[in-house]
Symmetry: C2
Subunit: 175 residues, 2 copies
């Protein structure tokens, strides 16, 4: 793709103008209708609304590298639950994740070298996606900042087939 | 909605099975085709793929409460840029945000009281959405962990009309 800002962001703006014309006016409440929060990866191959059959107004969607539960996820879920009434948390990792392609130590060292400073965050690298999902469920279940920790379930999205598979709760195996 | 997990998450799974049937097999690369990362709010009224006319494989999508740039956003963008080749960052806040309905001190105190512990994160409350967008742009521009800090632009999504408005870069007004 081209090199200037014009290309990719202005193209998106053009498409947004076309979208707004068919969107029309909608007056939806800020509180999600299905009282659901979804936590998933930033991966470009997962279109959350389409893949879960969501409509505007249905559910909060949180996304970061990996879909792992971090302090920022807890912050967002605390607002989602306490302020905006969500009750259930759906955690979705996926196949072929970038975080399986790095190691915690390797990427941390690469960042530190490039930045000249230690990153103030865990990278979140993992080698077993099911274990990573279970760790994320456990972080939700253990957070004192969340009023609803009891309704978290974990899934893996297959980026090839578009299908979700549930990860059964069990002890996290050794790291 | 009902109270058991069956309701909301299993309904989503049912819709996902229907989606997977029409999805078929796709073999898309992990690197986003448009070399774009989008950072936006978890708000349920913003369907990012639809609103920006994105296809699977086009862009990373990062979402948290407010769409503000936090340490976790920097972590995700560092992986997005260094590992997966994105070059531009599109920051999108929106009208009628939950973070305009709380104050930093008020929600922090509420959380601390409920949890019996101080939250280890900034809440991210704001009263002027344009200023909040500019602060997020500034955080991208200032992060030593990002190789591409020069192509960040900020927008506000109107949840009623579905339209994006660009926030012009200028000095952040007093907090």
């Amino acid at each position: 793709m081209g090199d200037s800002d014009r290309d990719v962001m202005d193209e998106a703006l053009d498409r947004n103008r076309a979208y707004a014309r068919v969107h029309g006016r909608r007056d939806l409440a800020v509180r999600p209708r299905r009282a659901l929060a979804i936590v998933t990866c930033m991966d470009s191959r997962l279109d959350v609304f389409a893949a879960l059959g969501l409509a505007e107004g249905d559910a909060h969607v949180l996304r970061n590298a990996g879909g792992i539960v971090t302090d920022d996820t807890i912050r967002s879920l605390a607002l989602s639950q306490r302020l905006l009434g969500t009750e259930a948390v759906m955690l979705i990792h996926h196949t072929d994740c970038g975080l399986e392609r790095v190691t915690e130590e390797g990427f941390r060292a690469e960042l530190a070298r490039a930045a000249g400073a230690e990153p103030p965050f865990e990278i979140g690298a993992f080698s077993d996606v099911d274990d990573s999902v279970r760790r994320s469920i456990a972080r939700v279940a253990a957070s004192p900042f969340l009023p609803r920790r009891d309704r978290a379930r974990g899934f893996v999205y297959d980026v090839t087939t578009g299908e979700l598979r549930e990860v059964r709760a069990e002890a996290v195996s050794s790291p």
